[in-house]
């Protein structure tokens, strides 16, 4: 029993990482109907920005985290501006292929720049281990979960309670009518990319802290899994991405603990197949009837 609780706790910390990445997928999908396959690589870029900030320039952990989030936000805005915006009126498949292209571009630029071999992530926070009965919790796990949940609350606040959040929801529902309200949809889309990218960067830094290793291809698998998490929760739905992330993280850890760790990566894709067969709109997804 302790073992199950232990694994669930581990799953929650992994799940909060997936949830943070999944939020960016779901927000961009909500507003552009685009699966931004470069999103996993923004998470990777965020990890490297954190690596430079913490290791090279010796910032403290919170400042390094904020630096990585800010840098990734700028990167997200640039990618949207130059790769996606010119294709706003193009067929959606062009946009998707472009996203894959941006993904390869980021990965290979980083290989060119820092090399393909993994690097140790600067460990600013000394590891502390707490025992609750037989259950082990580390301070890093606690930081991961706390930072993620804080960011998620912040995001929910922005989307639900602020004027710009209202504009984001309006643009995601109906761009033409949003224009009639005087909403500058280009700005709203830029902001969406900025927020989504900064959340991914936070996940990147937290993963560096947790697994202690980063490399230019580190975004591929978590990117795909976070995409599954977003679909699982209901793509386009923000609480869905969080829920999907946690479910996926816990499922993955449980499977690798009690079945076999060699199939841990398969879990996400089995879940994807099942959700597409059983409930394609996702757990929280629903079809709203439209009145005409």
């Amino acid at each position: 029993m302790e073992n199950v609780i232990q694994q669930i706790l581990n799953g929650i910390s992994l799940g909060s990482i997936y949830a943070l990445i999944a939020l960016g997928y779901t927000m961009v999908y909500g507003i552009l109907r685009l699966i931004n396959f470069a999103h996993g690589d923004i998470y990777m870029m965020g990890a490297f920005l954190g690596y430079f900030a913490l290791g090279l320039w010796n910032f403290s952990f919170p400042i390094g985290l904020l630096f990585a989030m800010g840098g990734a936000a700028v990167l997200g805005i640039i990618i949207e501006r130059f790769a996606y915006r010119p294709l706003r009126l193009a067929p959606r498949i062009s946009l998707l292929i472009t996203a894959i292209g941006v993904s390869f571009l980021l990965e290979n630029l980083m290989v060119l720049w820092v090399g393909a071999s993994p690097r140790p992530f600067p460990q600013k926070i000394p590891l502390q281990i707490y025992f609750i009965g037989d259950i082990v919790v580390t301070n890093r796990q606690i930081i991961i979960v706390l930072v993620s949940i804080t960011l998620m609350f912040l995001l929910q606040f922005i989307v639900l309670k602020t004027k710009v959040g209202k504009a984001m929801r309006a643009v995601s529902f109906d761009k033409e009518t949003a224009l009639m309200m005087g909403i500058d949809i280009d700005k709203v889309i830029s902001l969406t990319f900025a927020i989504g990218s900064s959340l991914a960067a936070a996940a990147g830094v937290l993963v560096g802290l947790y697994f202690n290793k980063i490399d230019p291809y580190m975004g591929v698998m978590p990117g795909l899994k976070a995409f599954v998490a977003a679909v699982l929760g209901g793509i386009g739905i923000i609480p869905g991405a969080m829920l999907g992330g946690f479910i996926l993280g816990i499922a993955e850890v449980l499977v690798s603990a009690f079945i076999s760790s060699t199939v841990r990566d398969a879990v996400a894709f089995v879940i994807l197949i099942l959700i597409l067969l059983i409930r394609p709109s996702g757990i929280l997804g629903k079809y709203m009837r439209e009145k005409v």
Partner: protein
């Protein structure tokens, strides 16, 4: 207030508007009537800059709208009530109204406008917290008009406000439109319901396949033999 000069709009090879001219004066209600595909909606969308003008100019006072990006039109004081209402179904009624006042920074003015909208449509006050998607068609139309009023616009573009509504509701909507006009707003109205359009408007333009067929004071046009046959059922 508004003058449209030699406006052409083509969708690819389709000529939706082929050189139309008209004007709207302050505090007027002007109706554009015509059959499906005559170019009524396109005209309103051209004013809102939601479609690209092929040639021609649209002046709002002395400002040429031709070069303006679509999100800047609302700031001038033009509000569009689109065809099919297009309320933000995923937002509450209140949030929809607040979005109407997106560019307004004066909190007091927003409050006054909100009270004005609620006085016109008390039903919206009751349903404030409800998602707009759960409203009935008539209530959604009220919300769409209310949302446009929130922007403090001087000119309202109304695209088929009577579409799909029960006759009683249509009368209710038109009663409110008349009241809005009496409050000093100018209305440019597109309608299929020609009877209603003639009864409310001061002047009418009749559109046919992208051209203006005739124009004049509503009562005069309503007596025209050709118009009676085509639009008023003999």
């Amino acid at each position: 207030m508004l003058s449209v000069n030699n406006l052409h709009v083509y969708y690819g090879g389709i000529k939706a508007l082929q050189g139309i001219n008209f004007e709207v004066k302050e505090k007027e209600i002007v109706a554009l009537i015509g059959a499906n595909g005559a170019g009524k909606t396109t005209t309103l969308k051209a004013i809102s800059r939601l479609v690209t003008l092929t040639t021609g100019d649209i002046f709002f006072y002395e400002i040429n709208l031709k070069k303006l990006p679509p999100h800047k039109v609302s700031a001038l004081g033009i509000a569009h009530v689109p065809e099919g209402r297009r309320v933000f179904a995923n937002l509450t009624v209140l949030e929809n109204l607040e979005l109407g006042a997106y560019l307004c920074k004066d909190k007091k003015k927003i409050k006054t406008n909100l009270e004005f909208v609620f006085s016109l449509f008390p039903r919206l006050r009751e349903r404030c917290k409800q998602l707009a998607g759960t409203l009935s068609g008539g209530e959604q139309q009220m919300l769409a008009i209310g949302r446009a009023l929130m922007s403090d616009a001087r000119l309202l573009l109304l695209d088929e406000p009577s579409m799909g509504l029960a006759p009683l509701l249509v009368q209710e909507i038109f009663r409110v439109l008349r009241k809005i006009n009496e409050e000093g707003k100018t209305l440019l109205l597109v309608e299929q319901n020609a009877n209603m359009a003639f009864s409310i408007s001061h002047r009418v333009y009749v559109l046919e396949t992208g051209k203006i067929l005739m124009s004049g004071p509503s009562q005069e046009i309503a007596r025209n033999e050709q118009v009676r046959k085509a639009y008023l059922g003999g």
